[in-house]
Symmetry: C2
Subunit: 227 residues, 2 copies
DNA sequence: ACAATAGTGTCTTTAAGACATTATTCA
DNA sequence: TGAATAATGTCTTAAAGACACTATTGT
């Protein structure tokens, strides 16, 4: 059994974070990816990520937030831990462990996309570096799963939104049609949202009222749309 | 910025796994804890856990299974990744990252408890080493959350069980009464379980039929009992 | 026969789906 | 006034809750 410090070092895997940034863009769910500059997988699309820096980061989540600030210019949004991926083969540099986070971001909060950054539709995802394809699929499954019985999809919308916009967000996330009447009943009865007092402006049809989320996330005890 | 190998070593946190083994015992939900032999927290109750061993383990999950085999003598049961806990303060030995797993185990599958092993009720948990109290609370929240709309609580029962036993498992997990008639309807209509053909023996009352789970886990689109 | 619990039947209640109808805006 | 979409109302349907009732075992 190795006991010197030099040997012990090999017991510690490479520790990183990866972030799955999901948003609604042009009517579909998309994930932010960037082109890797460096090996391994130079030139391939990948999720924003980076090393955990003990001494700089107070937790894996802080590391993820640092990555999001630095690499994507994102200040404020919904984030939750997704899962942790590990093993000897996922990174050619060696046995690694990556804590993945799921961030839901309104499209208008994303800064203009640089040359090497792109929004990829989660249906028909291109090949991604490392095991990032798998991570994105897990993230989408999490969002779809929770979306059916919680207010999570609202995190994809800006602070104020119309009820039809909210319904559309649910429909895109769940991949299923929702009846407008049922939808309004449910979100209003649950006090999930409240009117801002404002209404849409600059539309050539009846303008919809604007709403905002009331307080914290909510869960339903019965599913909307798809199971 | 450090560049030598010796400096880079400090970039890598201590990587461990912890396991939350939940079971039903004497009508309540309990977690398996053991008394630590060594510092830190020698003498305190803690979750079974250990270092991830690159070279020996093929993933964090494999490391957890190794821990469960070695420390708890457990062969075969339900396991899922819970979450990852990290930071400079949770382990006095330094910046650490621990991948926690949730295991659901039938009581009769647990070997006889050694002197330094105990089942602690999750309500009124004693103080635990590290951040293990927090981890157990998260595990219980996960089980309660998923239990309301899935067949997960069945993983706490032996391979064959009666319908009243299954109902009781749900009631303990959810902390709420469930109507027997509704419960039977739901569980049978969903084809979640099937009769084994056998019945209880050695009871001085009407013996209940025995069931087993049919195939894989199921989810409901409406909650049983509590939201 | 009776104690005890397994298991069934039926009515009520809750909440979602379908879908017709009305309301409000701008051009 | 007409196009477009927001918002409401009403009936149907699915599934859970309440609870009375019947069934089956050992003593």
């Amino acid at each position: 059994m190795p006991t010197s410090d030099a040997d012990r070092r090999d017991w510690r895997p490479i520790a990183t974070v990866d972030t799955v940034i999901l948003t609604l863009d042009e009517g579909s769910l998309k994930v932010l990816v960037h082109r890797r500059q460096r090996a391994p997988f130079a030139g391939a699309w990948a999720l924003p990520g980076g090393y955990i820096r003990p001494g700089e980061d107070d937790s894996a989540e802080e590391a993820a937030l640092r990555v999001l600030r630095t690499k994507a210019g994102l200040p404020n949004f919904y984030i939750e831990q997704l899962a942790t991926y590990s093993g000897p083969a996922r990174d050619p540099r060696g046995w690694s462990i990556s804590v993945a986070f799921l961030a839901l971001v309104p499209r208008d909060l994303l800064p203009d996309l640089a040359e090497d950054v792109s929004l990829a539709a989660v249906d028909g995802l291109p090949d991604l570096a490392f095991d990032h394809g798998r991570i994105v699929r897990d993230a989408v499954a999490r969002l779809r799963g929770k979306g059916a019985y919680s207010s999570l999809p609202a995190a994809l919308l800006p602070e104020s939104f119309t009820l039809p916009e909210l319904q559309r967000a649910y429909e895109i996330v769940l991949g299923d049609h929702i009846d407008a009447s049922s939808f309004r009943r449910k979100v209003l009865d649950l006090d999930m949202i409240e009117e801002t007092g404002e209404a849409q402006a600059g539309v050539s049809k009846r303008p919809a009222k604007l709403y905002r989320l009331t307080g914290a996330a909510r869960t339903f005890n019965r599913t909307l749309g798809a199971a």
